[in-house]
């Protein structure tokens, strides 16, 4: 009984500290994320609303417009209001989810983004999962035996792949596997997300989408996984000198067990942060890969906007991409706290 009373307050206290610590922590991170979203909006406003010399000219380019019509458009767009008023309207509209009106599609930007976000999530999600798995595995293997043949091959392959423009790799894969060169027949579809001649539902549709997904996904994985190899390899090597590994070996554990149970969990910590921080690279990859494969996602939407250029649409995709990266960074902070006891204890 006495032992129970002595241990339980300590337990309760420990849990209480954890919980009461977490909420302010989360609150602080949320506030920081909100501030950086606001800063993103300021940057977006400066780029898209203040920098273009004359939006009305751009808007009416190539069409005969009278002076009176120009004035009317200026009033409609609120271009003559004071800057702070325009900024507040812009922030208010963005928070309400109104991202403007696309010149090119004659449709609201929000509805365009909503249509395109699914395919991008599918592509980025698959590519991220595959490249993280491949990158971490290769990184652990080559870090544990750094200097070995395996390490040298893995490291130099990832260095070479990092040095290649994503879109170029995409085009080469397209020529090799979709168009077919020499002995290689045409294996996979060249672009888009599904074949319009096939039924758009059921198992056949899933297989069709998967076939269309192979090349864009492969391109992104090949370019992105190199980052993870480097990060994971470095943190494994950083851990290798640690005394606790010597202790683990002294206990008589096999090399494999030392690696899996002792080195990897510790080395994963810095890698997790880096993985989340590098998700911005995935966004860049999505833009170029989707452009090459006309994958109907947000990246391809950006490309289509860029070709005109359709500024409201570009502004919308810029805000959506930035917001998603900010959310990812927030997630990284929370995940990191759960993974690393040292951060919790602070």
């Amino acid at each position: 009984m006495s032992s129970l009373t002595t241990t339980s307050p300590a337990k309760v206290k420990a849990q209480g500290v954890k919980r009461s610590d977490f909420l302010p922590y989360l609150g602080g991170k949320l506030a920081a994320a909100l501030v950086s979203f606001l800063v993103t909006l300021v940057i977006g406003f400066v780029i898209f609303s203040l920098m273009p010399a004359d939006p009305v000219r751009t808007l009416t380019r190539g069409r005969p417009t009278s002076e009176a019509q120009l004035v009317q458009i200026r009033v409609q767009l609120g271009l003559d209001d004071p800057i702070w008023e325009r900024f507040l309207t812009f922030v208010g509209n963005t928070l309400k989810g109104e991202l403007g009106y696309s010149w090119q599609f004659q449709q609201s930007v929000s509805s365009l983004v909503a249509d395109r976000i699914g395919p991008t999530l599918l592509l980025m999600g698959t590519a991220a999962a595959l490249s993280i798995a491949l990158g971490l595995w290769l990184g652990i293997r080559s870090g544990w035996r750094h200097g070995s043949l395996f390490d040298r091959i893995a490291s130099s392959t990832s260095l070479a792949l990092w040095s290649v423009p994503t879109f170029w790799l995409g085009m080469i894969l397209l020529v090799a596997f979709s168009v077919g060169v020499g002995p290689i027949p045409s294996l996979l579809p060249a672009g888009g997300m599904s074949d319009p001649s096939l039924p758009q539902e059921g198992w056949a549709h899933v297989v069709d989408v998967a076939k269309h997904l192979v090349l864009p996904c492969l391109t992104m994985v090949l370019v992105v996984f190199a980052q993870y190899v480097t990060v994971m390899r470095t943190s494994i090597i950083d851990e290798m000198g640690s005394p606790y590994l010597l202790t683990a070996r002294a206990k008589g554990l096999t090399d494999d067990a030392v690696r899996r149970r002792h080195a990897v969990p510790n080395a994963l910590l810095p890698s997790v942060t880096m993985i989340f921080m590098h998700l911005g690279i995935l966004v860049s990859g999505a833009i170029t890969v989707e452009s090459v494969y006309s994958w109907p996602g947000l990246g391809y939407l950006t490309y289509e906007a860029l070709r005109i250029p359709d500024l409201p649409l570009l502004q919308g995709t810029f805000i959506v991409f930035s917001a998603s990266v900010i959310i990812m960074n927030l997630l990284a902070d929370v995940v990191y706290r759960f993974l690393d006891p040292r951060v919790r204890a602070q």
Partner: protein, 300 residues
């Protein structure tokens, strides 16, 4: 008088000595030497290009080669849709691709070093604000920001250069700030302050020379990513439509249906050129990093 000659002569000899020691250490790194060799070869080709490539070979109207032909006699790497030799185009493209990469890097490094020095030296609210701004820019995804900037600024090399600099100065700024803090903690800075050196003098005369080697290392790696960004932005249609760069060749190939035609000979050379140059800068950067600070790069 003797004091003056002493101060001017003293720093020179150790510096020259340090430089020759650096060269000897660098020469022992085969990957670094290979990278340097690649870069020198490409640089020489780019500089010498006007000697053997003229308007006759580049002007779409004046050329008379076969159109979109695989490698044949006289056109070792094949031709593009207009009948221009791919080999000559790649060599000519090196000029603008390399110069945009180098100019964008110079801008990046100047901007980043200035922010980093100021943030490291003025540790009060100025430094805090500067670091907050840096963090905000780090959080922004770089390609969408670069695309937006150069779309608003209009097509062309200048807007691409600005967009690259605006999106990539943050890494340099953080690095320089960290190094500035380390240098300012050393006693000779205190000595300079006691002798009456102002803020500007401390930053320019005392901190900057100590931070310089690090800035040079990071700028080598910045060139590599600037060249990749240049190719990407140009490919997306933000470059000058009349000039020949590796990115614009790939854009022309993509839009002109070289992919559907299976014209691998058109797609390979510009991409391999980018790969070689980026690899060259990365290898040189890593070798220099290794020589200057062997501890920092154990893993990489």
């Amino acid at each position: 008088m003797t004091a003056a000659t002493y101060t001017s002569a003293a720093p020179k000899a150790p510096r020259r000595h340090a430089f020759s020691r650096f060269c000897r250490a660098y020469a022992k790194r085969p990957a670094g030497l290979a990278g340097l060799g690649l870069l020198i070869a490409f640089g020489a080709l780019a500089l010498a290009a006007p000697l053997f490539i003229g308007d006759d070979q580049l002007n779409v109207i004046k050329v008379d080669g076969p159109q979109l032909s695989p490698p044949v006699d006289g056109y070792p790497l094949g031709t593009d849709q207009a009948g221009r030799s791919i080999l000559l185009l790649v060599i000519w493209g090196a000029r603008e691709s390399l110069s945009i990469g180098l100019i964008a890097t110079a801008l990046t490094v100047v901007l980043g070093s200035a922010v980093g020095l100021l943030a490291g030296h003025y540790q009060g609210w100025v430094g805090k604000i500067l670091m907050h701004v840096t963090d905000w820019f780090i959080a922004l995804p770089s390609l969408p920001l670069a695309i937006s900037l150069s779309a608003v600024l209009g097509q062309g090399a200048a807007s691409i250069t600005i967009a690259i600099a605006v999106t990539s100065w943050t890494a340099t700024a953080r690095l320089v700030r960290a190094q500035t803090l380390a240098v300012e903690a050393r006693p000779f800075i205190e000595r300079a302050k006691v002798l009456g050196a102002g803020n500007t003098q401390i930053m320019i005369r005392h901190v900057l020379p100590n931070v310089m080697p690090l800035i040079l290392v990071s700028s080598t790696l910045t060139v590599a990513s600037a060249i990749l960004s240049e190719a990407t932005l140009t490919f997306l249609g933000l470059g000058d439509p009349t000039s020949v760069t590796w990115g614009s060749m790939l854009e022309a190939a993509f839009l002109g249906g070289a992919v559907t035609a299976g014209a691998w000979w058109y797609l390979m050379p510009p991409g391999i050129a980018i790969l070689i140059v980026v690899l060259g800068f990365t290898l040189v950067g890593r070798a220099v990093e290794h020589v200057l600070n062997p501890r920092m790069v154990v893993g990489r």
